[in-house]
């Protein structure tokens, strides 16, 4: 029987896990009263469904449709003037959702908060470009890597992968190795399928030297005419150096030493 491989994740798995292994969790602290974080949660009470402090940073769970309102309140009322990062995490296999996070920074108090929301696979999210211009590139990258559509983005286009790429590389369903079509991608695109035999498969070893390749490489001392039949072993020739006025290559090294 063929070995079973899960279709919803093609990523590498630990080859052995103890059957009684239960992963512990990083402690999630409650927000202490009368702190800056408590004020933030109070300001955003209407939107926040869950809030805690994880490793010194405030985490706020919100609904995806509120993202623009929450980030605007954070920026204008709570002093989080910079959004330092935004991206997504693929949870399609577990719950059919993407988790999107916005990493916020308050420069005056040096505090950081993370706004987290979850969207379904085919949902789109509102762009935060009107609030933070950095999202222009960051949301394009999110679209490129996960295929998450961002509404009202000024220029939603692939950013890192080529424009005509199919698939979104950071999905867990994205294969780790290319298939037959991928290995012939450039040849098919530029020359056409019929040229596969003439061009041959791609060489992925940049240091590869074919010593019998008479068209691109030559062996010193075994030179042959261009395009000569490589199956015939070439005869050894004496190496000739070009003569210059300054260096006599024919001199033996011993003589050179004497001169010093």
């Amino acid at each position: 029987m063929r070995k079973y491989t899960p279709k919803d994740t093609l990523q590498k798995k630990a080859y052995y896990t103890d059957r009684f292994w239960v992963a512990p969790r990083v402690p999630r602290d409650e927000i202490k009263e009368e702190t800056h974080f408590a004020d933030v949660v109070k300001t955003l009470q209407k939107y926040v469904s869950e809030s805690y402090v994880e490793l010194g940073q405030l985490v706020l769970h919100i609904k995806p449709k509120d993202n623009l309102a929450v980030l605007e309140l954070l920026r204008d009322k709570c002093g989080y003037a910079m959004c330092s990062e935004l991206s997504a995490v693929d949870y399609l296999a577990q719950s059919g959702e993407f988790e999107i996070f916005y990493q916020m920074l308050n420069l005056t108090l040096a505090k950081r908060a993370r706004v987290v929301c979850r969207i379904k696979q085919n949902e789109s999210i509102e762009s935060i470009v009107p609030l933070f211009k950095m999202a222009n590139f960051a949301e394009r990258e999110m679209f490129d890597m996960f295929g998450i559509y961002v509404n009202n983005h000024p220029y939603l286009k692939r950013i890192i992968m080529p424009d005509d790429w199919s698939g979104h590389p950071l999905l867990k369903t994205y294969p780790l190795q290319g298939d037959e079509a991928a290995s012939w991608y450039e040849v098919d695109k530029i020359f056409g399928k019929e040229y596969r035999d003439i061009i041959g498969p791609e060489n992925r070893d940049p240091a590869k030297v074919d010593r019998y390749d008479t068209q691109r490489f030559s062996r010193v001392g075994y030179e042959v005419p261009f395009g000569a039949d490589p199956s015939v072993e070439a005869e050894a020739k004496e190496i000739e150096y070009s003569k210059t006025a300054f260096v006599n290559y024919q001199k033996k090294p011993k003589q050179l030493k004497k001169k010093r």
Partner: protein, 408 residues
Amino acid sequence: MQVTTKLTPFFENLNFEREGNTMVINFGPQHPSAHGQLRLVLELDGEQVVKALPDIGYLHRGVEKMAENMTYNEFLPTTDRLDYIASTSNNYAYAIAVEKLLGIEAPRRAQVIRTMLLELNRIMSHLFFLATHALDVGAMSVFLYAFREREYAMDLMESYCGARLTHSAVRIGGVPLDLPTGWLVELQAFLEKMPENIKLYEDLLTENRIWKMRLENVGVISAEDALSWGCTGPMLRGSGVKYDIRKEEPYELYGELEFDVPVSDRCDSYGRYRLYIEEMKQSVKILHQLIPMHEESEPQLMAHAPKYISAPKEEIMTQNYALMQHFVLVTQGMRPPKGEVYVPTESPKGELGFYIKSEGEPYAYRLKCRAPSFFHTGLLQKMLVGSYLADVVTIIGSTNIVFGEVDR
């Protein structure tokens, strides 16, 4: 999407509204002044840029994807290839993020060595910036002088870890090696020469008429724009916002060290150039303070956390349990607890942070590298508009972007 055939080959669909007498030119991706594989599509009205579109991705290697399929220790050398001008700062940013997830702290001596390496890398990176920026603008000799000093710094890195560019000098939980004998003496000699070298660059550039003409009021970015576009590091401080993560959210030994955070409110390339010079002086000051700290610290180099980090070699070779732990950690990899972490660090280019989402597996469930250059490249579409074509190269140089971390 255009359907491409042999007769209609693929071209980028560029949606420029062509009004009047504008011209579209393509800058890069193989342009010597583009600092790597940057492609800029510029729409010009005469010599003035009307619209700029940075196009990236020519150096994409899928680092974040690789992180999801490598154990935590396996991935560390890959981080070298992000900002390859200052590799140790990437290694460190990754290592500190994992350490925070694990809840461990590196021993004192490792912290001293790491802080030294970070500052040495900052000097190397700033020298590289100065050299290439000056070369782009047209000052050839600064390039030669700055690269000479960078060479000494790289020699120091080489005698510590054996590599000049891809250091991997930091491990999760500490550092692999103590400083070799005589290293601190060499460092001291390097530091003592540094102020006069910095003075040499300043004499060549700061009051230079041509340099000032090329840099003053070029690449102007206001504080609001800098915040909105996610600028960090010298780009943010060059716009008058005093925020240095080393000072505001101290990590490693920066809380104990005495240094100033230079700020410039000129908002232009010249202000940023002055900042880089001042930051090099501060790094020299920090390194001077770190030298005596090394002697005072205990010789332990790696944190003691048998669940996550292998014991020292002597223990592995003599004790059965340490050997078993080591075997499990090497074959399966460490399994951090479930949770997510984002740790910002101040790399020479700006805020470099790793977001790691762990599901308790030996592989990170998601790793996001927040690279400063990525956002600085995005800023180009705002900053270039209105400037002249001849200033484009100056502005790209002044943003100090490195494509290893833009494309990842």
